[in-house]
């Protein structure tokens, strides 16, 4: 499903974020990406969504080399990915409901169908009662869950999460992890980055550990 082959990523200025990274993630797998901050976790996720491009090596998503994808094809790659951003990237000029609606509007779903889907997604993360609220009125944990709802509303086959439990206390973090596990059970491929070792303790999932841009 996702495959890195000898990927190097150097930012302008010479900083090497990723060095010779190679791995494969099979369909339906749930994988954690760990490492200290600055180890290259975010860069790795950005390469999958073609937000950044590798300097060398290839990044394959669904057997498509996304590193060389043309600008016009990018939207269709990203529609197939659910991305949970480290900084949430929620829009504070609209309600919770409309934030989750945005991906469906982009794909051109009709009004009635998208209403159902938005509510289903909000229900899944436990925010159904807050659909009319403005995201700014939500707690950190709720904002994170809203971000998840937006990422899954389009029913993507791959879910990427960048530090989804970053600033949350343990109870919230457990909640979020439980949500991810439920996606894993229905066959979604997940790649979750975290620097928080505690969330890994009670799970027996595969871990990719990054250190200074190299896989351990």
């Amino acid at each position: 499903m996702i495959s890195f082959n000898h990927v190097y990523k150097r930012y302008p200025g010479g900083y090497e974020a990723l060095k010779n990274v190679s791995f494969d993630i099979a369909e339906g797998e749930m994988v954690f990406l760990t490492g200290h901050s600055g180890a290259g976790k975010s860069t790795l996720l950005k390469l999958i969504a073609a937000i950044e491009r590798p300097n060398s090596g290839s990044v394959l998503v669904n057997n498509q080399n996304v590193g060389v994808l043309k600008g016009g094809a990018l939207p269709y790659l990203r529609r197939n990915l659910g991305i949970i951003f480290q900084d949430h990237k929620l829009l504070f000029d609209r309600s919770v409901f409309d934030n989750v609606l945005l991906p469906l509007q982009i794909c051109g779903f009709d009004h009635r169908e998208s209403g159902k889907r938005v509510r289903a997604a909000l229900d899944k993360v436990g925010l159904l009662k807050r659909e009319k609220a403005n995201p700014i009125a939500l707690s950190g944990g709720e904002q994170q869950r809203l971000c998840i709802a937006r990422a899954i509303v389009n029913r993507p086959s791959i879910l990427l999460a960048d530090e989804p439990t970053g600033n949350l206390d343990a109870a919230y973090a457990q909640e979020i992890m439980a949500i991810f596990k439920s996606f894993h059970q229905v066959g979604v491929t997940l790649l979750i980055s975290t620097h928080d070792a505690s969330v890994l303790q009670d799970t027996d999932v595969r871990v990719l550990a990054l250190k200074h841009g190299e896989l351990q």
């Binding site: 969504a49 937000i51 600008g71 016009g72 939207p75 790659l77 991305i83 990237k89 509007q105 389009n154």
Partner: protein
């Protein structure tokens, strides 16, 4: 198909919502566009009316040839033959001096004055309908006819109309230049409005790009906004022109009653109104398109 249509309709609704969310700013923009368009549109309308006037009075060109006062019947016959055979002349009418005097009496109501004259002051005359209708050829023909023996004076009747026509041509060029300049201004106004919108919606655009929006999807509301603003500006211009015309016509009515004539300014025709609206929609769209093309590519998600 219906889905796409519904999607476009949704965008349009959102655009209208946004436009009326900032009532004053939106209205001022529309007013600026309306005024900018109403100037050339109004001038065009005045020219159109002047043109109608010229067409009404000039009709087909004619040349009047007045004979010398002492012309005899043989001279008249000779000239008639000469004129009839001339290749550039379609038709010739002879107006005898007695006939002309009768006409003058009947048409001007000066019968008493004319009746008091000792002798007929009018000469015999020919009215010539020439074949060519361009000014240069007509002038040439007039000069040629004036040189015929027995002719006192040859006069191109529609001379003033041609002068006015030339003046109108000048006016049309002025309108064209003005319209071009103000169109540029309109494009600039829209360009700037859209630029500000793109800046304020930076976050939304970035997120939309990240979750798979095509450039078309992102561009669409801005283009619609530009076109819609252009349309409303066009409507505003139409209202300005039409209202001004109504006011002018009222004054004109009073004026033309004093001169015992009937003259009113005609409003913009349906076709012209439609052209005005379409043109302003197009300019708004173009301004938005240029702005979007310039600014959207600068927003790349990180």
């Amino acid at each position: 198909m219906t889905r796409t249509f519904a999607q476009h309709l949704g965008v349009l609704r959102a655009v209208l919502h946004r436009m009326f969310a900032s009532k004053l700013a939106g209205f001022l923009n529309i007013l600026v566009i309306g005024i900018a368009l109403s100037l050339p549109a109004g001038m065009y309308l005045l020219l159109q009316n002047a043109q109608g006037l010229v067409a009404q009075f000039s009709g087909t060109p004619q040349i009047s040839i007045f004979l010398e006062m002492n012309a005899k019947a043989e001279d008249v016959d000779r000239l008639r033959k000469q004129l009839a055979q001339h290749p550039a002349i379609a038709d010739v009418e002879f107006v005898a001096r007695t006939q002309a005097l009768e006409q003058l009496k009947q048409s001007t109501g000066l019968a008493d004055v004319i009746g008091g004259l000792e002798k007929n002051p009018l000469p015999d005359a020919f009215i010539v309908h020439p074949k060519p209708d361009n000014v240069q050829a007509l002038k040439g023909l007039r000069d040629e006819l004036a040189k015929l023996s027995g002719v006192e004076l040859a006069q191109l009747d529609s001379d003033w109309a041609y002068k006015l026509e030339a003046l109108l041509k000048f006016g049309r060029l002025a309108v064209l230049i003005l319209a071009s300049l103000l169109s540029l201004a309109l494009i600039a106004v829209t360009f700037n409005t859209i630029r500000l919108q793109i800046l304020t919606q930076h976050d939304e655009i970035e997120v939309a790009k990240l979750i798979g929006a095509t450039d078309g999807f992102i561009r669409r509301p801005f283009l619609y906004f530009g076109a819609m603003q252009g349309l409303l500006g066009g409507v505003m211009a139409w209202l300005i022109v039409t209202t001004s015309l109504l006011l002018l016509n009222q004054q004109l009515n009073a004026l033309s009653q004093l001169y015992a004539s009937q003259f009113t300014l005609h409003p913009l025709s349906f076709g012209d109104s439609l052209s005005l609206l379409l043109f302003s929609v197009y300019l708004g769209w173009l301004g938005a398109w240029l702005s979007v093309a310039r600014h959207l590519s600068q927003i790349e998600p990180h």
